[in-house]
Symmetry: C2
């Protein structure tokens, strides 16, 4: 198992984009990684935009950058909720400072805007938040996937194959 001993946090909240959460989670597990879902409180139940369920294994307060090797954030409207939690933003900032792989897809870029890690970074996102990304200092491009050091970004569920190939490459 290529990613044995790697521990990844997937940050969730309601209205996550279903496949943007579950494809990366199962894909990382297939590669041997441990993936932990983090919600507001351990045990919280959330529902995706199209109806898929997800249950938090840990709370946001349990997110400790020393314990994790990477983070993935799904799109949908969950990022609008996730960005309101200073504990998550602090975690994202620490993961970035440590150069650990951060995966953002679709609207997940909002979380990285509020964590203030986008200055002069090359990124993509769903078109709707392009202006927010640029205003946060990013160099935005319209590509299926963009890797800038430890930050991997994609646009929509159609990009999931490219997104995970790039994210897995960083983790290896």
């Amino acid at each position: 198992m290529e990613l044995k001993n790697k521990k990844i946090a997937a940050v969730i909240n309601d209205i996550f984009e279903d496949l943007e959460l579950w494809y990366p989670v199962i894909r990382l597990r297939e590669a041997g990684a441990e993936v932990v879902l983090a919600g507001e409180k351990s045990g919280n139940q959330y529902t995706g935009k199209n109806g898929l369920p997800a249950r938090a294994d840990i709370g946001y307060d349990d997110l400790n950058a020393d314990e994790f090797d990477g983070i993935i954030i799904p799109g949908g409207y969950a990022p609008d909720k996730i960005r309101r939690y200073p504990k998550v933003l602090e975690f994202v900032k620490q993961m970035d400072d440590s150069g650990k792989p951060i995966g953002i897809i679709c609207h997940a870029g909002w979380v990285t805007i509020s964590a203030d890690i986008l200055k002069e970074r090359q990124v993509t996102s769903v078109g709707a938040i392009k202006d927010d990304m640029i205003n946060a200092g990013a160099n935005w491009v319209d590509e299926p996937v963009v890797t800038d050091k430890n930050l991997v970004s994609s646009r929509t569920p159609d990009d999931l194959p490219d997104y995970m190939k790039a994210y897995l490459n960083l983790l290896k």
Copy 2:
């Protein structure tokens, strides 16, 4: 891309198990394969058990064993509908006769029962259809994934990482 030039059919109908369809489809695309969704008629829209949508690229009548390198069938209750179509059963039988990879998970075993390809095959499935599988002549075991020549079977969405690893191994 390891599976470039491989063409796989995913057979769908209403109440498919959402992740048992979409995880394998996106995973195969990540590996470079072309994946085509087959429904009753090209363009038909279907809804998964938990709400994810899926649209048929081709109709069941377009399934031609000479054109495909593999087939995957999701679980949920879609297999109860899919097994009613002689064209699909004939396709499954021809794919099996040609030794091409067939992936079944959860309730998908029902389709292989009606295609009559289970005699003396080692398989697993969701526990609920264990008796149907045994009555069709299969040797049923309770394992995350079982490979018997070209036939790969798994039990539930939790087995998806093992299921796809085994299915991809057969395709390579």
